[in-house]
């Protein structure tokens, strides 16, 4: 009898130790869950976030940081299911809704789970909630630089922009691009086509063709549908300026430079805040100053000479310094009110436009 009691006690201790070890190990791991509207290989919005999480995992190590990424969730209702499941599981330290169309879901869910930290973007609104971080990007900064350089490269003085929907960082990028192009050359014509979709590649392709048929010799664009216009630019042997992520490898010799979103810069700040007990209430913005925006000259472009790339880099560095020092103000104050008004209600417009058929 005594032997059996001792055996039982030993097994119980072993089981308890194992369970405690598992819990302890789990507590040491910072877990993140992300939902996004497009693929992690879209060379744009979703890929920039995925790449950031991979970078953080490389920095912190897999034993300290893990994440799940539900991509291609363009149906907002599906995203709501995922977000609710994650929040109620209690397994995640940070839940990210990567897409402005998910704002209403976050606003509804966050109060139900006050001990869970949410983040959403691109937007500045935390809904006044202590467990919601908001993040956005000063895309107009890289847009300005792209536009400035593009105007100098353009032989026809006509540049085309293929945009998705006139909301959020897409609008900021395009507006900044136009300002930058005209800053370099007031005679430059920048024609913009918003195709009202983030993913309609056939329509974006024809938009690119229409812009080129009307004289554009340089194109730019934003969102995952840009793969179509890039193919047209390659066919016509023109030039491409990109944003959100690097499309350098796809664009090859026609890719000139890219504004890259470095979400890891602000994610690290969020992680630090959460670990110190702050679950939200802050807004983060990717800027050139905090190095959340990176301007990359395409390493896959063999047409530009090394000297040419060096001259470009010098010009880019100068523009970055001027923007940071506020010597260049991309949107004068009287235009800011208009820009902010456009940002309001963008989540609703984006949700309607990105619902699957």
């Amino acid at each position: 009898m005594l032997k059996q009691i001792r055996l039982f006690a030993l097994v119980a201790v072993l089981l308890l130790t194992t369970a405690l070890s598992a819990v302890h190990a789990q507590d040491d791991v910072f877990s993140v869950a992300v939902v996004s509207p497009s693929a992690t290989t879209d060379l744009a919005f979703s890929q920039s976030m995925y790449d950031a999480l991979v970078l953080i995992q490389e920095d912190m190590g897999e034993e300290a940081f893990e994440f799940v990424f539900q991509e291609g969730t363009f149906v907002v209702d599906d995203a709501a299911v995922a977000l609710r499941d994650w929040a109620s599981s209690g397994e995640y330290d940070l839940i990210i809704a990567h897409g402005s169309q998910y704002g209403s879901i976050v606003e509804e869910l966050a109060p139900e789970f006050p001990d869970v930290s949410f983040a959403w973007g691109t937007d500045e609104n935390t809904f006044g909630l202590d467990n919601v971080f908001a993040y956005t990007v000063a895309a107009e900064e890289g847009g300005f630089i792209n536009g400035f350089l593009a105007a100098q490269f353009s032989a026809t003085g006509n540049i085309g922009v293929v945009g998705p929907i006139e909301v959020g960082d897409a609008k900021l990028y395009v507006d900044g691009f136009k300002v930058g192009a005209n800053y370099a050359n007031p005679e430059t014509v920048v024609n913009v086509t918003y195709i009202q979709s983030f993913s309609d590649v056939p329509l974006a392709t024809e938009a690119a063709r229409a812009l080129i048929a009307n004289g554009a010799d340089i194109l730019t664009g934003t969102a995952q549908m840009v793969v179509g216009p890039i193919a047209v630019v390659q066919e016509e042997e023109l030039m491409w300026f990109g944003t959100q992520a690097s499309q350098a490898e796809l664009a090859g010799d026609v890719g000139v430079m890219f504004q890259i979103y470095r979400w890891d810069v602000i994610l690290k700040d969020m992680i630090a805040a959460i670990e110190e007990g702050t679950l939200g209430g802050e807004t983060y913005v990717l800027t050139l100053e905090n190095e959340g925006l990176e301007i990359e000259i395409s390493p896959f472009n063999t047409v530009l000479s090394d000297e040419g790339k060096a001259a470009m880099q010098e010009e880019i560095d100068g523009l970055i310094a001027q923007i940071i020092a506020k010597e260049i103000v991309i949107f004068p104050e009287e235009d800011m009110a208009t820009a902010e008004a456009m940002m309001d209600g963008t989540a609703e417009a984006t949700a309607e436009a990105t619902t699957a058929p």
């Binding site: 497009s38 693929a39 290989t41 879209d42 060379l43 291609g72 363009f74 085309g160 006139e166 014509v189 024609n191 913009v192 086509t193 918003y194 195709i195 009202q196 979709s197 993913s199 309609d200 590649v201 056939p202 329509l203 392709t205 024809e206 938009a207 063709r209 229409a210 812009l211 048929a213 009307n214 554009a216 995952q224 793969v227 179509g228 890039i230 193919a231 390659q234 066919e235 490898e249 796809l250 699957a356 058929p357």
Partner: protein, 306 residues
Amino acid sequence: MSDILTASVFASTLRLATPYLFASLGEMFGQRSGVLNLGVDGIMLMGAFGAFYTVLITQNLILGVLVALIIGALLGLVTAFISVTLKAEQGISGIGMYLFGLGMSELLFQKLIGTPKSISGFPPISLPILSDLPILGEIFFRHNILVYLAFALVPISAYILRSTTWGLMIRAVGQNPTAADAMGVSVTRVRYATVTIGGMLSGLAGASLSIALLNVFQQNLTSGLGFIAVALVYFGRWQPWGVMLGAVLFSFVQALQLQISAIGIDVPDEFAAMSPYVITIIALVFASKQAEKPTALTKPFVRGDS
């Protein structure tokens, strides 16, 4: 006005219409025999991926087209089995095929390719002499071969439906399968054939995107284009020339709104984007009043049922 209605707008119209035309003509055959297939978009995605991947690894465009046709045929057969043999609810089974194509094409893309890549697709073919014609040359005679094929299928389809025994059987099965069966026509065989042909043409529609018009593949490349193609069958009153008219009208309005933006005319983008759909709906309202919808559309055939 001359800056708006340019030759490039009409040329763009024909390019945009090509995938709609392939998919709609294929769907038209199926619907004329009484089977609705809402999975067109999914089959297009699978055809688009199959063609693209084939060209990526072999650089053989013809092989890419063949692969798209085979994939379309196989998925058409599956659709036929579900709708005709199992007599499942056609609308729901079609949605299932769409979701399958959407998910599988994305999975295969991620596993086999990983990141968007571009290929050299079908180049434009300038038809001798004709392509040099002022204005008309640019509009009609400088397209890739799949554009020419799509439009060539319109009179071919019309001839098949109106002037061949096979076309008569298709129409009979779609109007009155019981009577057709009584006359010795195999309703099952006809429906299997038309839905399979529809699948092949949907696969070809996908290929026309990935290896001719876009030369790239990405998740959800079709962006719901297959559903528009199904609607165009109704618009066209189940007639090949009507389907072509619908495809061209829809594409023309799309091309026009792109041109208006490209030349800097300030029209609200939302208005421009919705206009193809609004105009098509208006035309559909008028067209449907005289429509000769196949009487047996979506109705499974059971011998002995009146």
